[in-house]
Amino acid sequence: MPINYYIFLAIALFSIGIVGVLTRRNAIIIFMCIELMLNAVNLLLVAFSKKHYLVELERLKVAGLEAVTNVGTDGQLFVFFIMVVAAAEVSVGLAIIVMMYRNIHSVDVNFLNRLKH
Amino acid sequence: MQLTNRSIEVSRKPLTWLEKLYVWNIIKGMAITFSHLFKKRPTINYPEQKRPFSKIFRGLHVLNRDAEGRENCTACGLCAVACPAEAITMEAAERLPGEENLYREEKYAAKYEINMLRCIFCGLCEEACPKDAIYLSQTFAPANYARKGFIYKKEDMLIPHPINEPEAYQKALGEKSVKN
């Protein structure tokens, strides 16, 4: 697959996530949209990692070297770390949202205006 | 004051660590249930096999006839009075001429109903009956689809005619001896 396809797909998902963040008013859904953004990033990273792997493989082939390389693993590991962080973030984020809900019985971010005055 | 010597001192010791684990107790419990796999099963295959009733089992009511096949009941109402659940209703009627072969006395029960849903099978009606017209048999009330079906009419309870259908009569009589 041309890398462009993956870039466009990832960016499309990313933009959908951003649109969601901007248009939705439910804190949980905003948060979900952020997760979607992270996933778009993950997909892009994996695609790039494979791209770099392929490029390195070609290079090695041209150079006549043994075609064993682990170029690209770092991209996938980064994805792994993103997932780790996302999990941590979710635990905290949902705790905060629940705390909020306990107090105002709503998760509408439009109600977050107490600080404006 | 100690009335009996059966009271046991309750131990208030906190559970030890091992006891708190419960593992041993769980294993014990499992062993107990497992041992039941090999116990003899008291269950019987009911409709095929039946367990015998005791002699004094009180089942469905039967309205008795005498040896000539005449109904014993005179609609005196003592059974209805005795009934604690007020399950019995009856209507009396005078015996017309030519009906002597049907009713033993001049007065008979034109209508005799027992509501089996109310009846508690205490047997007081049997006790109260001076004519030995009602007794509790060893069968119990079969299931029914409607409430109405549980209101037993006289026809439902009358014992088969001893002369016309002697076999059925004997069967219905069961172990009950005819006390005439």
């Binding site: - | 099963r41 008291p42 269950t43």
Partner: protein, 352 residues
Amino acid sequence: MYLLVIDWIFLLEKFILVGFIVTLSLIIAMYTTYAERKVAAWLQDRRGPNRAGPFGILQPLADGGKLFFKEEIIPLASSKFLFILGPSLAMITALLTSAVIPWGGTLHIFGKDVSLQIADINIGILYIFGVVSLGVYGIMIGGWASNNKFSLIAAIRGASQMISYELAMGLSLLAVLMLTGTLQMSGIVGNQIQGSNVWHVIYQPIGFFIFFVCALAECNRTPFDLPEAENELNFGYHQEYSSMKLGFYLFAEYINMFISSAVMATLFFGGYDILPFVDETKWGLSGNMLTILGFCALMAKTFFFLFVFIWIRWTIPRFRYDQLMNLGWKKLIPLALANMIITAAVVLWLNK
């Protein structure tokens, strides 16, 4: 990456295998319901179902038929799609797990080696985990879609219970993975067959214990059957369900039992290994024979575990909810962690 390579015979083989395994799971699940009733009866000194067919063998069919022909009720206030999705998901996730379990060695049929494993992917255990973690959705969606507070509470209970126990389960598995060094299910079984042929339960009794307890919880079996605690929640998350949708839920539970028994057998009891400490290849049996025997051995182990599941159900009373959570988070997870660390230390020490 088999899915992407078109090898028709291979595909056919796999289809047959899938069909076989799925049918097998369904049948076993069916008969587990029967076994449950039977064993329950025995443990309670009763006889159990014995009317349909000899010894009541046709009872599951009768039950199934009854469920099929009962009236289908979808509550008016429920969300219909999700209401149907719930049991379907439960069923699908239950069946998916069987794909990576090695049901036996390889058969030689028509000059081909046929592996008795649908997909020998190198992340088998993770796959199982993934699928198991999806099992929650069936319960949650079904419970929520019913639009009934009892169902909802039960669904939430079920979800939190499953999430909580998944952790301890994973941790207990890690110890096994340290011993084997692979996530491949066939590798794990192979590890128990090779060499001195020691089953993992010998090295990992605590790990097995934890896994077993967690398996009980994951399957919502007593003493962890809080989601369907009938005395508090009427009937739990499937209260509003009727007919075969209810049947799916019940079925999924039994399939889960079956699969988790199989997984336990595979991970801790040598899988299709017939006996521990014995090298079966020296018995002089043909390969196919051994494979079939192995399959039977696995089934035997699985049935044993199924029996234990049932046995426990009729012995141990249900936990209270807080006790359940305490057990999961405060007892099992630390225990599993300790087990893991000790295992790691020993492995490091032995391998130097």
